[in-house]
Every structure is written in C-alpha cells, then in structure tokens.
Symmetry: C2
C-alpha cells in the first residue's frame, strides 16, 4: 500500500505524520507550533517544513491529506479563513502543497475528517449513520449519512456548532447570535463561570479568565457554581443532539473535543437532556452516545483516509 502524508493544521499546532497503510498507526510523526499570528505565508511554510521533516519520498506515488479548520472548499482546495487562522482569506493551500511536492493533495474540514476517522477506526465503527460533535475551543461537526461522509454541495456541511438554539444566547465566534458554540464551547464555559464568579467573589478571578478544564477541576473539588455551569452546557448540548437526531436519525453519536473529556460531570447532563428532548419513543433505544476513541489524532487519521479515497 502506498504511503500517505497527513497533516492536521490547527490554530495552535501543526501535526504531520507518515502513514504506511490505511491503519491509524503512523510510521513517523511530527509536531510544530502553528504561530498563526505570523499569517498564512509563514504558516504554509511551516506546514511544508513539517512535511519535509518526515522525509517522504515524493517519487514513490506519495499522496497527501490535509485537515484544516473550516469553512473551506475541498473541491477547489481553498481555505476560506478561520477565527484561529488570522489573515487567511481564500488561501489555495491544496495547490500550494501540490506544486511544492509534486504529488496529489486532498484538503478537508478537520471536524469532518475527525468524524470519518472515528467512523472507520474509532468509536463509530460498524454503523452507517453517525453524527459527530467536537466540543472544544469551537464546536464543529461531521456526519456519516448512508455510509458516506456528509460534505454537502460545496463541502460546507455539518457545522453543527453553528445552529440556532437560543436567540438570547451570546454572539458566537462566527458573528451570529444564538448558536450552540456560544453556550457550550470551552471558552463559553470559562466565560460563564467567570461571570458567575464575579458576582460571588470578584477579587479571585484570574486576568485571563478560566479554561473549561479549570472549571471542571473546580467542579470536581465540589464547587457548586462550576458544576452548575458545566451542567447547563451539557443540557443545551443534549437538547441540540436531540434536534440533530430528529434531522439525521443516526445509529450513533460520537462526542469528541476537550470539553467532552470532562467526563461524567458533562456527559451525564448531556445524556439526560438528550433522552428527555427526543420527540418520540421511536428514536429512543435506537441511538447510542459514545465518546471519541482517537483523541487528538482523529483529524490526522481522517486526513490520511481522505488522501486514500479513490
């Protein structure tokens, strides 16, 4: 089987790995800081350096798969721009890499590709219909419909964090009000805890606010306010998952991203809200919620799978 180079371009890290087969085990892997603030040219140069550090032999029928934050156009190979990639505006990343390395390159949305990876090699194996939600700095999604990755007409589908759930919710990172992401992402959880903490004891709030894992730590130590904030986030996530089940009727939901790693303190409220928000018993018992199995590697493995598609 021909080798594939996969890259996961994130706002913090660029990860690259050489996969000798379609199994999720890289022969070599490589991590570099993105330093997104230096702009697209510098970041694309670092992507190239990361790939070169793997010493792939470009005359061996090599293929490359790149996972990048959406929205992007997989058919044209263009990254439209993302909040955590400042300065990116319609960057033709696919063709830049293809012309540099002289090999075929495929580009995909990182969350879509994570869904593909979890379906083939992770917590979504064995089903034909899957909904994936990645709850982290943002909330992204992916779906398998009838055994195929859902891309939509232009590769812009499955933005499940950017759907209206509550018109009174804060403005989302995308600029629209009321989206799930503005209520239940990691930063949303930290922000909400800081707001409530400010009412309780204004002196104790760190200058750079709280992360979701700090709120989780406080909750684990018995802070009822922290626990409430996490429960509220879990509840709205669970309700939204019910909406997604009404829309997609999947056999399995897979939850990834750092926030889902808070464990039962958020998974419990998610499951309870989900079960009670389903519109009809016909849905219940026919769909299971699982946590992602591939961790941070999901995007990278999905990029490898994308590159191997015919």
């Amino acid at each position: 089987m021909l080798p594939v180079v996969a890259v996961d371009l994130g706002g913090t890290n660029i990860r690259a790995a050489l996969f000798p087969s379609d199994q999720p085990k890289p022969a070599h892997s490589q991590r570099a800081l993105t330093r997104a603030e230096e702009g697209p040219e510098a970041v694309v140069r670092r992507v190239i350096e990361s790939i070169e550090a793997l010493h792939p032999e470009s005359d061996s029928g090599l293929r490359m798969g790149i996972a990048a934050p959406g929205p992007l156009d997989p058919a044209q190979g263009i990254v439209f721009g993302a909040p955590n990639l400042p300065g990116w505006d319609r960057v033709p990343l696919r063709d830049q890499l293809a012309s540099h390395f002289g090999c075929p390159v495929a580009l995909g949305n990182d969350c879509n590709l994570a869904a593909l990876a979890e379906w083939r090699h992770g917590a979504g194996q064995g089903v034909h219909h899957l909904v994936y939600l990645a709850i982290g700095t943002g909330i992204g999604g992916g779906a398998i419909v009838n055994g195929q990755l859902l891309l939509g007409a232009h590769g812009l589908a499955a933005e499940f964090g950017h759907m209206l759930v509550d018109p009174s919710a804060p403005i989302c990172g995308c600029g629209q009000p009321g989206h799930l992401e503005s209520l239940a992402s990691g930063p949303a959880i930290g922000r909400r805890f800081a707001e409530l903490q400010a009412e309780r004891s204004p002196a104790g709030i760190p200058a750079d606010g709280y992360s979701a894992s700090q709120v989780g730590k406080a909750a684990a130590e018995g802070d009822r306010l922290a626990l409430q904030v996490i429960e509220d986030a879990g509840t709205i996530i669970g309700k939204h998952l019910a909406s997604l089940v009404h829309a997609f009727d999947p056999e399995r939901i897979v939850l990834g991203g750092g926030v889902s790693q808070l464990g039962e303190m958020i998974l419990g409220p998610i499951r309870r809200a989900f079960a009670s928000a389903l519109m009809h018993p016909a849905y219940r018992d026919r769909v299971t919620i699982a946590t992602a199995a591939l961790g941070d590697d999901a995007g990278l493995i999905g990029a490898m799978l994308l590159a191997r598609e015919p």
Copy 2:
C-alpha cells in the same frame, strides 16, 4: 412501464391515484375524507376503498406506494402514530395493504416523499443536495443528500420542524418545548395573532381562533398586527433555514405547505432573515430558496416514485 397506485393518507383527506408511468400525471385519481376520529381500522378500510375505486388490475404487476404522516418505520412498514391520526399506535399499514391486494407496497413519510417528488419533478430539479420544508398544520421536512433521499438509520430523519430554535417558545405538538413548529406552523401563526388581538380588541375573536390564511388576509388588508405576526414567523423560519444550510449545505431549499403560499409577506422575511443569519459569505450565493411546484400532489407523486424504486 408498470402502473403504480399511490396513496397520500392525510389527517383530512385520503387521496389515491393510478400512475401509468413515472411522470407526475395520474390516469385516475380519487379523494375521500379521512374521518380520522373513527380510528385506524375505519381509516385503513377507507384507504382500501379508495384504492379499489381506481379499479387497478392486481394481476398486472401492480405496485403501491403510500405516503403517511410520520414518525413511521418504512423498513417495517409501520405507522407509529401521528397527532392528526388519533388512535394509531404501531399500525402495520404496509402489510395490511399488501395482504389485501397481493402486491408489493412501499410506505414512506409524507414530507420525505414530497421532497423526493419536488426533487424529481418540481422545484428541486437538477440539484444533488436539497432541503425541503413543508410549513402547514405542522412543519415537516425532507432532504436529498448526494442525490439520495435522506432516510436516516430507521426512516426517522428530516423532522426539521422539530428542532430546538428557542427554549422560550411554546410546547410543540410533539410535546417538546422550543421547536420551530410551535412558532411558525399555521396554527402557531393563528394562535399568536389571537393572543395579540385579545390585547387589542378581545370582543372580536372568533370562537375557533384564526387560521394562517385568515391572518394572511388581514395582513393583506393592512392589519399591522397580522403582518407583524407573519413577519415574526418568517424570521424564525429564515434563521432556522440558515441552521439547516450550515448542517446540510444544499444547493436549493424548497418551501412547501399552506403557510408558504402566503407569498411575499412571509417569503420576504424568510429570505431576509436567512441571508443575514448565514455564518459565512461562502454559503451565500450558493443556495437558492424556491417555493414548491407540485402543490398538494407532492406527497402522492412521491409515493408513486417510492413504489417504483428498485
């Protein structure tokens, strides 16, 4: 081409038609009152009588397609029950008809089948990705994903009226709070107008409330309150369509159902709210909103198409 009998079982009417080909032109058609209040046995008997009135020759390789309100299980041929079909609880409609007529029968969700019909013969022709919303007594949906009707794992997908859009919205017909249907269906529009009218001039409200078309008539005659109610419904529909575009990335949205026939007074607010709620310019200009072309025949034509599927 072998003939197909199609039936559209609604809460008010049972419609049946004999289609000699896959074109949307029936050779004969037939309409009877459902009289749903008499319960499933009487209704199934009337479905059978409606079919018999078409004089189909059952020894000629006849097939039948039935559109019924969801949720239902198309694989098992079972209607789980619907608010406008009182007393229906897991009725094996497909097998009842198949054993009576001795021919293959296919069962599908009426809105899913309307989407299929609009895609093949109506306002959705020529695209591979379509979202259909039927705004009437309830709000139902259908979708074409990658050139295939979206059914989900159990035939329960595309319930786009039953997705959370506002936790403060009234309880929906399905029993859950906050769904689009509770804010923008025909009865929701009539109810909201009655509430506001009660504040303005309590004496003038008819005992059985208002229908959406009465509200539309009042709006057309210059009643600002009526116009506002319709604009509000259009606005939340438009915002939800943006969410559906973020989820499905279709090329076209088709709007059916009686409420969409209110014309520009609701389509204008829908389009405006939709355009301003899209999360990124990449979506804009790549999706068009059209009104359904097949009218009340969409479910019937969809049932005919379903029966012809291999």
